[in-house]
Symmetry: C2
Subunit: 282 residues, 2 copies
């Protein structure tokens, strides 16, 4: 039987690191990291997400600044706000809640966020730096996957890693992060033949397909690390791509869903904020 990688516990310890970081800054008489969130209109799902961010921000002693804008805002006004926030030395990170209203060019507006404050890692410049191997912010779900792999203490270098899924926010950046750690990485996707056979070669298997309960024992190498990034809603229950009960019998480590990768992402966003703060303040 393998071990469960406990995302909640990992997030807890990360939170206590951030709280300590904030206390240290206060002790030094420096201001605390500040996150600007921008929402437009009142989309229920988005507000739920942003409210959670703001709550966590406060909870960790960080400073949230929320800009709640009317649906009627003009594109140039929104760009103006972003440019002000870019210039503002007291703002460290900027989160623009998507989607934007239809009269606003989402790509154009997003691209205006300074890559130095783009803690979500979504601007083209940030991505370019990331894939070049330079210092950059990484989409938090991808970062969560790699941090949980590292948390097992198993050496990544030289291992064979297989990533199922090639999305811009998970599959591709996870593959890059694993390569940065000197794993030999294969990316599989909907057009891959012999998926089972390829997965069976993986010492580290990261599953991000969005196909609930599709990866069972036959796909998993003995003693592998299995990271399940899937979060589908099945009969109102959040469900992963991996059949957990089968995986835990074969693998050495498995993340559960919920309580795995997803439990760490928002906290990592706050860690990105602290890193942006350090670049910004010093």
């Amino acid at each position: 039987m393998g071990e469960i990688i406990n995302g909640k516990e990992f997030a807890k310890s990360l939170k206590s690191d951030i709280r300590k970081f904030v206390e240290d800054k206060k002790g030094e008489g420096i201001r605390v990291p500040c996150l600007a969130t921008i929402t437009i209109g009142e989309d229920g799902g988005s507000m739920y997400y942003v409210n959670n961010q703001i709550k966590l921000c406060k909870d960790l002693g960080l400073e949230p600044k929320h800009f709640s804008l009317d649906e009627s805002i003009k594109e140039e006004e929104l760009i103006g706000l972003i440019e002000n926030l870019n210039e503002d030395r007291e703002i460290d990170g900027i989160m623009l809640q998507l989607p934007l209203p239809k009269h606003i060019d989402e790509k154009l507006v997003s691209s205006k966020i300074s890559y130095k404050k783009d803690i979500d890692g979504l601007t083209d410049i940030n991505l370019g730096k990331f894939y070049k191997g330079e210092k950059a912010f990484v989409p938090c779900t991808a970062r969560s996957a790699i941090e949980l792999i590292k948390s097992t203490g198993v050496k990544i270098e030289g291992k064979r890693a297989v990533v199922l899924g090639r999305s811009n926010i998970v599959g591709k950046p996870v593959a890059q992060l694993l390569m940065n750690e000197n794993a030999t990485v294969t990316i599989c996707h909907s057009r891959t033949n012999d998926l089972k056979e390829i997965c069976k070669e993986a010492d580290i298997l990261v599953v991000a397909m969005g196909k609930p309960q599709s990866i069972g024992r036959d796909y998993i190498k003995e003693k592998a690390i299995v990271i399940d990034v899937g979060t589908s809603s099945v009969n109102g229950k959040i469900t992963g791509d991996v059949i957990f009960d089968e995986a835990i019998e074969v693998a050495s480590f498995v993340t559960p869903v919920p309580g795995g990768v997803g439990a760490v992402t928002t906290t990592l966003l706050m860690k990105n904020l602290c890193e942006a703060f350090e670049e910004n303040v010093y």
Copy 2:
């Protein structure tokens, strides 16, 4: 015995396409694509490379504009020139010859080239777009590799591709391009274990390690396509990473060195220029 993929022939046919494109534009009474090249100082190697570009440009009926700057140029003057070229509707592509003199911040200055005219595909924005799967310019050596694979007529989708090497200008972008074509891609590098075994799984093997004559018959799957991007100088002779005589016995297609990937790159730069022109003019 496999077939040789003839890069020179491929370049020849590409050149004739470009000449036809230029003639068509002239016929329509439109100006021809214009490439701005910037060199600073008189580094012999760089000048040789740039002179070749200019020669090819003229040869294809394209318009070169060469800016030869003195070593003493100030950073802000160079940036000023680049910004003028960005604005200039008659300029379609900008090539800044590296390395720059030490008093100039190479990263800063390169980043000023508009991604719309960055036909070498080196700016962060361009890279970000490329890795996101958006329209972008691709470093020409990587593009050459994928174009030569396509020239065989063999279907890429669903095939297993292995890329040896993870450089920013070859390995990583080639892997991305192969994934765009729906291959299942593995990237290997200096820390990869069982390299031979992994290569043996490849229907498409792209070798870009810079280790001359290191990949022989034992690394090649029967009927694979082998693309050799290596160009080392050994006893004054340009030498690939692949042992050609062994590869051609096992593989279905092999690129020679010289006369393979390298024979196509500068011509692809001109194709990129024509593509930039189409975006710029229409």
